[in-house]
């Protein structure tokens, strides 16, 4: 098999998908069938210099194979009118019953 059960486990972790251990062998077999099929693309020559039909590999930012938050394009503080010490400052939306008494 071109895809092993161990690789399926690793890929499922990257995809944040729980997979039953008992289905790993079946999934590895199915993925191998698909991966072997799409591998025929590697036998075709040409196209290396062809302009992609739509934004393709050149515009894609690569990152390591780890599950991690995506970096933001802008600063976090730009998402709200006010930001202080790691918190967004927003208008008070309402008050719990008795809150005023507590404040007093």
């Amino acid at each position: 098999m071109s895809v092993t059960p161990e690789e399926v486990r690793q890929i499922a972790r990257l995809a944040e998908l729980s997979v039953d251990e008992e289905h790993l062998d079946d999934l590895a077999a199915q993925m191998s069938r698909i991966v072997d099929y799409i591998a025929q693309l590697s036998q075709v020559s040409g196209g290396e210099h062809a302009k992609p039909f739509i934004p393709g590999p050149d515009l894609i930012r690569l990152r390591a194979d780890v599950v991690a938050p995506q970096p933001l394009e802008g600063k976090l503080s730009d998402f709200a009118p006010a930001f202080r010490e790691g918190f967004f400052l927003v208008p008070k939306l309402g008050a719990f019953e008795g809150a005023e008494e507590d404040e007093e």
């Binding site: 998908l17 062809a50 039909f53 393709g56």
Partner: protein, 461 residues
């Protein structure tokens, strides 16, 4: 049409939808649809070009009136807070939204056997699949329950079920129709299309939903499609017949039906010319790299936090994500997410994803080469076979994927294409496909009008 007639249309549609219930094509309960149709008929715009016309929607198009499930357990009962631009445009034109149609989960499939809400039956032969992933939309139109329905395409999901159910299916050019409010699958491929009982029904719905939308920056800044007139003849049209779409092992009945359609095109005055699209055989492997890669990214948002159902008794955030997705997604969606993640992972990116993007460029060049040599339209079979038996291809995903081998090239290259019935083989419908030049849907529709009038779509080939 008057308001009384619109109400009568609503009532008749509700009755027809009730009769088609056994096909499992409609996800919205018929009682809910009936109530909604009657209310819509009372409030519809009488001056609209689709006034009183019932249109069903594939259930990956967001509506305010009905839940949007995408055929997935993960989104069971999900109520969108906004509606798709195509839905607003249909309502503005006076159309009546006739409920949500069943589909392969998240539009991933070619047989509508991969819905969490059960498989859809083909109205022509209930032991067979209706095609997919817009199988519910095609079955409703094929059964005569609605004159038109919206579907969506990523690799042929409108045209392939249209061919299997004996109806017309149009996939417009990428960027012709707004996708605002369409649940994304493969963003460089997805496009909303139309299924109709005739070329005219499908084309007039397409004309209404097409055109610019500031809410979707992949939607081109163009006026809505103008409908062509029905031509008497096709003189002046040059139609290319690509040899790669007529392989030796093509189903003989499909070949006979296509041969008859080509003779009819010649009789109508069109010049028919042999052409070549040499990279066609690589469309499906290319598609099954790019579409799963984009799906693995698009479906990352379904994590149990923002949308739909979530796993219970979880201990950590990672556990919540993994178990929600593991329990909520069906086997085909999980398989595609895994394949997509695999081809995008660091060891395999160049070998698969980059190579597929290069192949995509070659496929686009194939079409440009043909159109640059004076060909107006390409004619092919829509599918290599007629509708297959339910369960026949579910064990082997690759054999299922090959059902889209003649449709996926148009999605990968963004060109418009449509399927129309061109005959039957042993009682099963055969679809003929026109592929057009970008944003020249009117040429394609004009030729389809003429061919539809020239041959019987229900006659044995």
């Amino acid at each position: 049409m008057t308001e009384v007639e619109a109400l009568a249309s609503a009532k008749a549609t509700a009755t027809r939808l009730g009769k088609a219930k056994r096909l499992n094509a409609l996800l919205t309960p018929t009682t809910v649809v009936r109530k909604s149709l009657l209310a819509q008929a009372k409030n519809a715009h009488p001056s609209g070009v689709l006034y009183g016309m019932p249109v069903a929607l594939k259930d990956n198009i967001c509506t305010l009136e009905f839940p949007t499930t995408c055929g997935s357990k993960l989104l069971e009962g999900y109520q969108s807070p906004y509606e798709a631009t195509v839905v607003t445009k249909l309502k503005d034109a006076g159309a009546l939204i006739a409920g949500k149609a069943n589909l392969d989960e998240f539009a991933m499939g070619s047989s509508t056997e991969h819905s969490a809400y059960g498989r859809v039956l083909n109205p022509v032969d209930r032991t067979r699949v209706p095609g997919g992933s817009s199988g519910g939309s095609a079955a409703l139109v094929g059964a005569g329950a609605v004159p038109a329905a919206l579907g969506t395409e990523t690799g042929g999901s409108v045209r392939q079920p249209a061919a299997f159910c004996g109806v017309v299916g149009i996939k417009p050019t990428y960027g012709r129709v707004s996708r605002y409010g369409l649940v994304a699958f493969g963003s460089s491929l997805d496009q909303i299309g139309v299924l109709g009982r005739s070329v005219h029904d499908a084309a007039r719905v397409l004309s209404v939903i097409s055109g610019r939308d500031p809410r979707d920056n992949t939607c081109e800044n163009r006026d809505p499609l103008r409908l062509p007139t029905v031509p008497e003849r096709l003189e002046g049209f040059v139609i290319g017949i690509p040899k790669e779409y007529f392989p030796v092992d093509l189903n003989p009945g499909v070949r006979r039906a296509c041969d008859r359609a080509i003779r009819a095109l010649k009789d109508l005055g069109a010049a028919v010319r042999d052409v070549s699209l040499p990279h066609t055989a690589y469309a499906i492997p290319t598609y099954y790299v790019i579409a799963p890669a984009e799906a693995s990214s698009n479906l990352a948002r379904f994590d149990g936090v923002r949308y739909g159902n979530r796993a219970k008794d979880v201990t950590t955030l990672a556990d919540l994500y993994q178990r929600t997705r593991g329990a909520g997604f069906g086997p085909e969606v999980q398989r595609r997410i895994l394949v997509g993640t695999y081809v995008l992972s660091s060891g395999y990116y160049d070998a698969y994803y980059k190579k597929a993007q290069q192949m995509r460029a070659l496929l686009a060049q194939d079409f440009r080469n043909v159109f640059d040599r004076g060909v107006d339209l390409i004619f092919t079979p829509t599918t290599p076979t007629t509708a297959f038996k339910a369960g026949e291809r579910t064990k082997d995903p690759v054999s299922m994927y090959l059902a889209d081998c003649f449709t996926a090239p148009a999605n990968l290259t963004g060109v418009p294409a449509m399927s129309l019935p061109i005959g039957r083989v042993k009682g099963l419908p055969v679809g003929g496909q026109f592929i057009g030049q970008p944003f020249l849907e009117d040429d394609m529709i004009e030729a389809a009008y003429a061919l539809e009038r020239a041959i019987s779509g229900t006659e044995e080939a």
